[in-house]
Symmetry: C2
Subunit: 362 residues, 2 copies
C-alpha cells in the first residue's frame, strides 16, 4: 500500500521515520521444514495442556473477568524455579514486550547505550522507538564480544547471551567484568537461548544492583504460541519496569498464558529433558554439517550459525527453500555468508543434511 | 517498597516522573459481588470454549510455534462482523495496548490533543508516557461533551463514546461535526462500551480519512480474561498503527486469544442476546435506584454513574464493600459524589438494591 504525503500528515512525525522489526516468516505451507525462527521441535509439557483445560472448565468466570493485572501466580512460579524472591520478577507479553519496557525504563539517557554490531535486530528498533541513543560496538573477527569495549561511558548496555544470530556464549566472568566496570549503568543480559547450554546470570542478580536478566518461554519451554517473557533484577529495577508497564497496559497477560506458563515452570523435569534432547541433536547436526564442509560457530543455543565456503549463503537458503526447508538468512554486512539454522528433531536435522548432500551439493 | 535516590539513578529520567494508571481492583475474595470493573456478568459464547479446545487438540504444534504476527484470522473475523475490509482492521493485546499505539502513532505532535476532563483516566497516562501535549476540556454541568470546544487548534482528539465513567453517549451527528471541524487531526472514538445501546462510528470510517474507532472484546463479548482489542480506520491510519506495533512487539496476540476471539466474532446471535440482556437489566436497575432516590445519568453503557443526594459517595462505597459489594469510586473533583456501578445479572442487581434498602439506607 502506498501512502500519500497528504495522508502522512496524520502520522506523528517521529513515527514516519520508524523502521520496524521484521520477524522471521511464518509460512502457512504444509510439509515445510521450518528451521527459521528458533522454535522448539518438541511440544510443551503435557501439564501445560492440562492447565489450559482447567481454565476452560471454569470458563464462565475465567474468561469474562479481567486477569490478575500483576500475574502474581506466574511471578511466583518463576521466582520458585529461578530461586529468587517474588519481588525480583517482572513478566510481560513475550520477551519482546519485556525488552521494550526495559529500553523505556532504563535506556532513555543522555549517553548512548552499547550493544554489538551483530546481535538481536530488534535493539535498534526499540532504540528508535523510544529515542534511545546508541553506540554499536563490533564483535571481533571470531564473532565474539570484546569485553574491554564495554568499559567506556554509556547510558546502558544490552548483551544477548548466547548471542543471536552467532550462537556464541559469554562466560559469567566476562559478564561480571562488564557489571563491575559500569556501576552507574543498567546492564541487561538477554538470555532468550540460555537454557541450551550457557550459564545464566540470574545467580548474579543478588550481587549486582545494575543487572537485569531477561528470559523467554518461547524457546526452551516450547511456548512461542503463548507470549510469555520475564525479567529478573533487584526490586528497585523491577519497580521501574512496573511503572512503565502500568503506563502502557495494565493487563498484558491473559488467563490462558498465565495458567499455561505456571504449569510449564512447575514441570522442571520435562523442561530439562527437552533441553537435553535439543543439545544432543545440535551436537550431532554440527558434526554432520562439518563433515560436509560447513564452518559452524560454537553454539550454546537452539540454533547454529553456519557458513559453507565457496557457496553463497543467500543462494543456499533459496535452494533449501525450493526443497521445502526454511532457514534464516540475514542479508547484512559481515554475516551475509552465514545461515542461522534452528535445531529440529534428529529426524528433521537428518532431512536437512540429506537434502544438502543429495539435492544441493551433489 | 521505597527506592533510594541513589537507586533511582538507574531509571530513565522521564520514567521517574511517570504516574501509572491504577486499574480497578481484582480482589481474590469468595462471594464478593464485583461491580467495579465493567465486566460482563455472562460468560462468552460457548463457541469460544470450543475454539480453545480445538487449539489444544492440535497443541503440539499450536503452542511451540509462534502465532501469526498479523493475526490475520482475527482481523478477517472482525472485518466481516464490522462490515469493513481487512485493510481497515488493527488488533492488539487488549484495547489498552491499541490505545497506547494510537497515542504514539498519531498524537506525538506540536499541538496538544483534546479530551474531556472526565473520561478514561488512562489518557493522561499515555500522554505522559509518550510525551503527548494535552488540553483538557471540561464537560458541561450535565456531564456532556461540548462539541464546540473541539473546534480549536489541536494535535488530535480522543473521545470515549459512551463516555466513562459518565455512561453518556454522543450521537453520530455530533461526532461528524467534530470530524468535519478537524480535517487535519486524527479523531479517535474509543467505543469500549458502544455495544450496550450507543451508535458506533465504524460506519463513518469510509467517509472520514481522519477517524479511528477503537473497540474491545472485554465488555460486550465477555473476554476480559483474554486481552483482545481492535481499531477500525482507513488504511493510511492502520499503516501507522502497524509501524508502531512492529517497532514494539511483533507477536502481541497469542494463539488462544486469536482462536477464542475469532469464535466470538463468528457468533453474532449470542453476542446480541447477551447485550440485550444487559441493557434490559440496566433499565430495571436504573428504575429501582431512582425509586430509592438515586440520581442516575442516562446510560448507554454496561454501567451506570449514580449519586445519592445527602449521602457521601465515598462512604456509600465503603458501606457497600462491608456488605460484600464492590463498586468503583473515583475520589476526584466533580465526580467524588458518584459511584460507577457495573450492570450485573438481574439477581446481582437485586442483591445490590436489597443491600442498599435493608442494610445501608434503612
Amino acid at each position: 500500500m502506498s501512502i500519500t504525503t497528504e495522508q502522512m500528515r496524520f502520522w506523528s512525525p517521529e513515527v514516519r521515520e520508524l523502521e520496524p522489526y521484521v520477524p522471521g516468516e511464518q509460512p502457512k505451507i504444509q510439509n515445510l521444514l521450518k528451521l527459521n525462527t528458533n522454535e522448539n521441535p518438541y511440544p510443551p509439557s503435557p501439564k501445560v495442556v492440562e492447565a489450559v483445560q482447567a481454565v476452560l472448565v471454569d470458563s464462565a468466570d475465567a474468561l469474562r473477568l479481567y486477569p490478575d493485572p500483576d500475574a502474581s501466580a506466574l511471578k511466583q512460579a518463576i521466582a520458585k524455579q529461578q530461586n529468587v524472591a517474588l519481588e525480583n520478577v517482572f513478566v510481560g507479553n513475550g520477551s519482546d514486550e519485556v525488552l521494550a519496557h526495559i529500553f523505556k525504563a532504563f535506556f532513555v539517557q543522555d549517553k548512548p547505550i552499547l550493544y554489538p554490531d551483530i546481535t538481536y535486530s530488534f535493539y535498534p528498533v526499540y532504540s528508535q522507538f523510544f529515542g534511545v541513543k546508541t553506540k554499536v560496538l563490533p564483535l571481533n573477527d571470531a564473532f565474539e564480544i570484546v569485553v574491554d569495549d564495554y568499559k567506556q561511558a554509556n547510558g546502558g548496555i544490552i548483551i544477548t547471551n548466547p548471542n543471536a544470530p552467532t550462537s556464541i556464549a559469554l562466560g559469567l566472568q566476562a559478564i561480571e567484568e562488564v557489571l563491575q566496570a559500569n556501576p552507574d549503568s543498567v546492564v541487561v543480559i538477554d538470555e532468550a537461548y540460555v537454557d541450551f547450554g550457557a550459564e545464566s546470570a540470574v545467580k548474579l542478580v543478588e550481587k549486582y544492583e545494575n543487572l537485569v536478566v531477561c528470559q523467554t518461554t518461547s524457546k526452551s519451554r516450547s511456548l512461542a504460541g503463548l507470549r510469555v517473557g520475564f525479567a529478573i533484577a533487584q526490586p528497585h529495577l523491577i519497580a521501574a519496569l512496573e511503572a512503565v508497564k502500568n503506563s502502557f497496559n495494565s493487563y498484558p497477560m491473559d488467563r490462558f498464558a498465565i495458567a499455561a506458563a505456571v504449569a510449564s515452570f512447575e514441570d522442571q523435569t520435562y523442561f530439562e529433558q527437552q533441553c537435553e534432547k535439543v543439545i544432543r541433536s545440535r551436537e550431532k547436526l554440527v558434526n554432520e554439517l562439518q563433515e560436509i564442509g560447513f564452518v559452524v560457530l560454537p553454539s550454546k543455543a537452539n540454533f547454529i550459525f553456519a557458513s559453507l565456503p565457496n557457496k553463497d549463503a543467500g543462494e543456499l537458503a533459496a535452494e533449501l527453500r525450493a526443497c521445502g526447508i526454511i532457514v534464516r538468512y540475514f542479508n547484512k554486512p559481515r554475516i551475509n555468508q552465514f545461515l542461522r539454522i534452528t535445531i529440529g528433531t534428529d529426524e528433521q536435522n537428518q532431512r536437512l543434511v540429506e537434502t544438502l548432500k543429495q539435492d544441493i551439493l551433489a
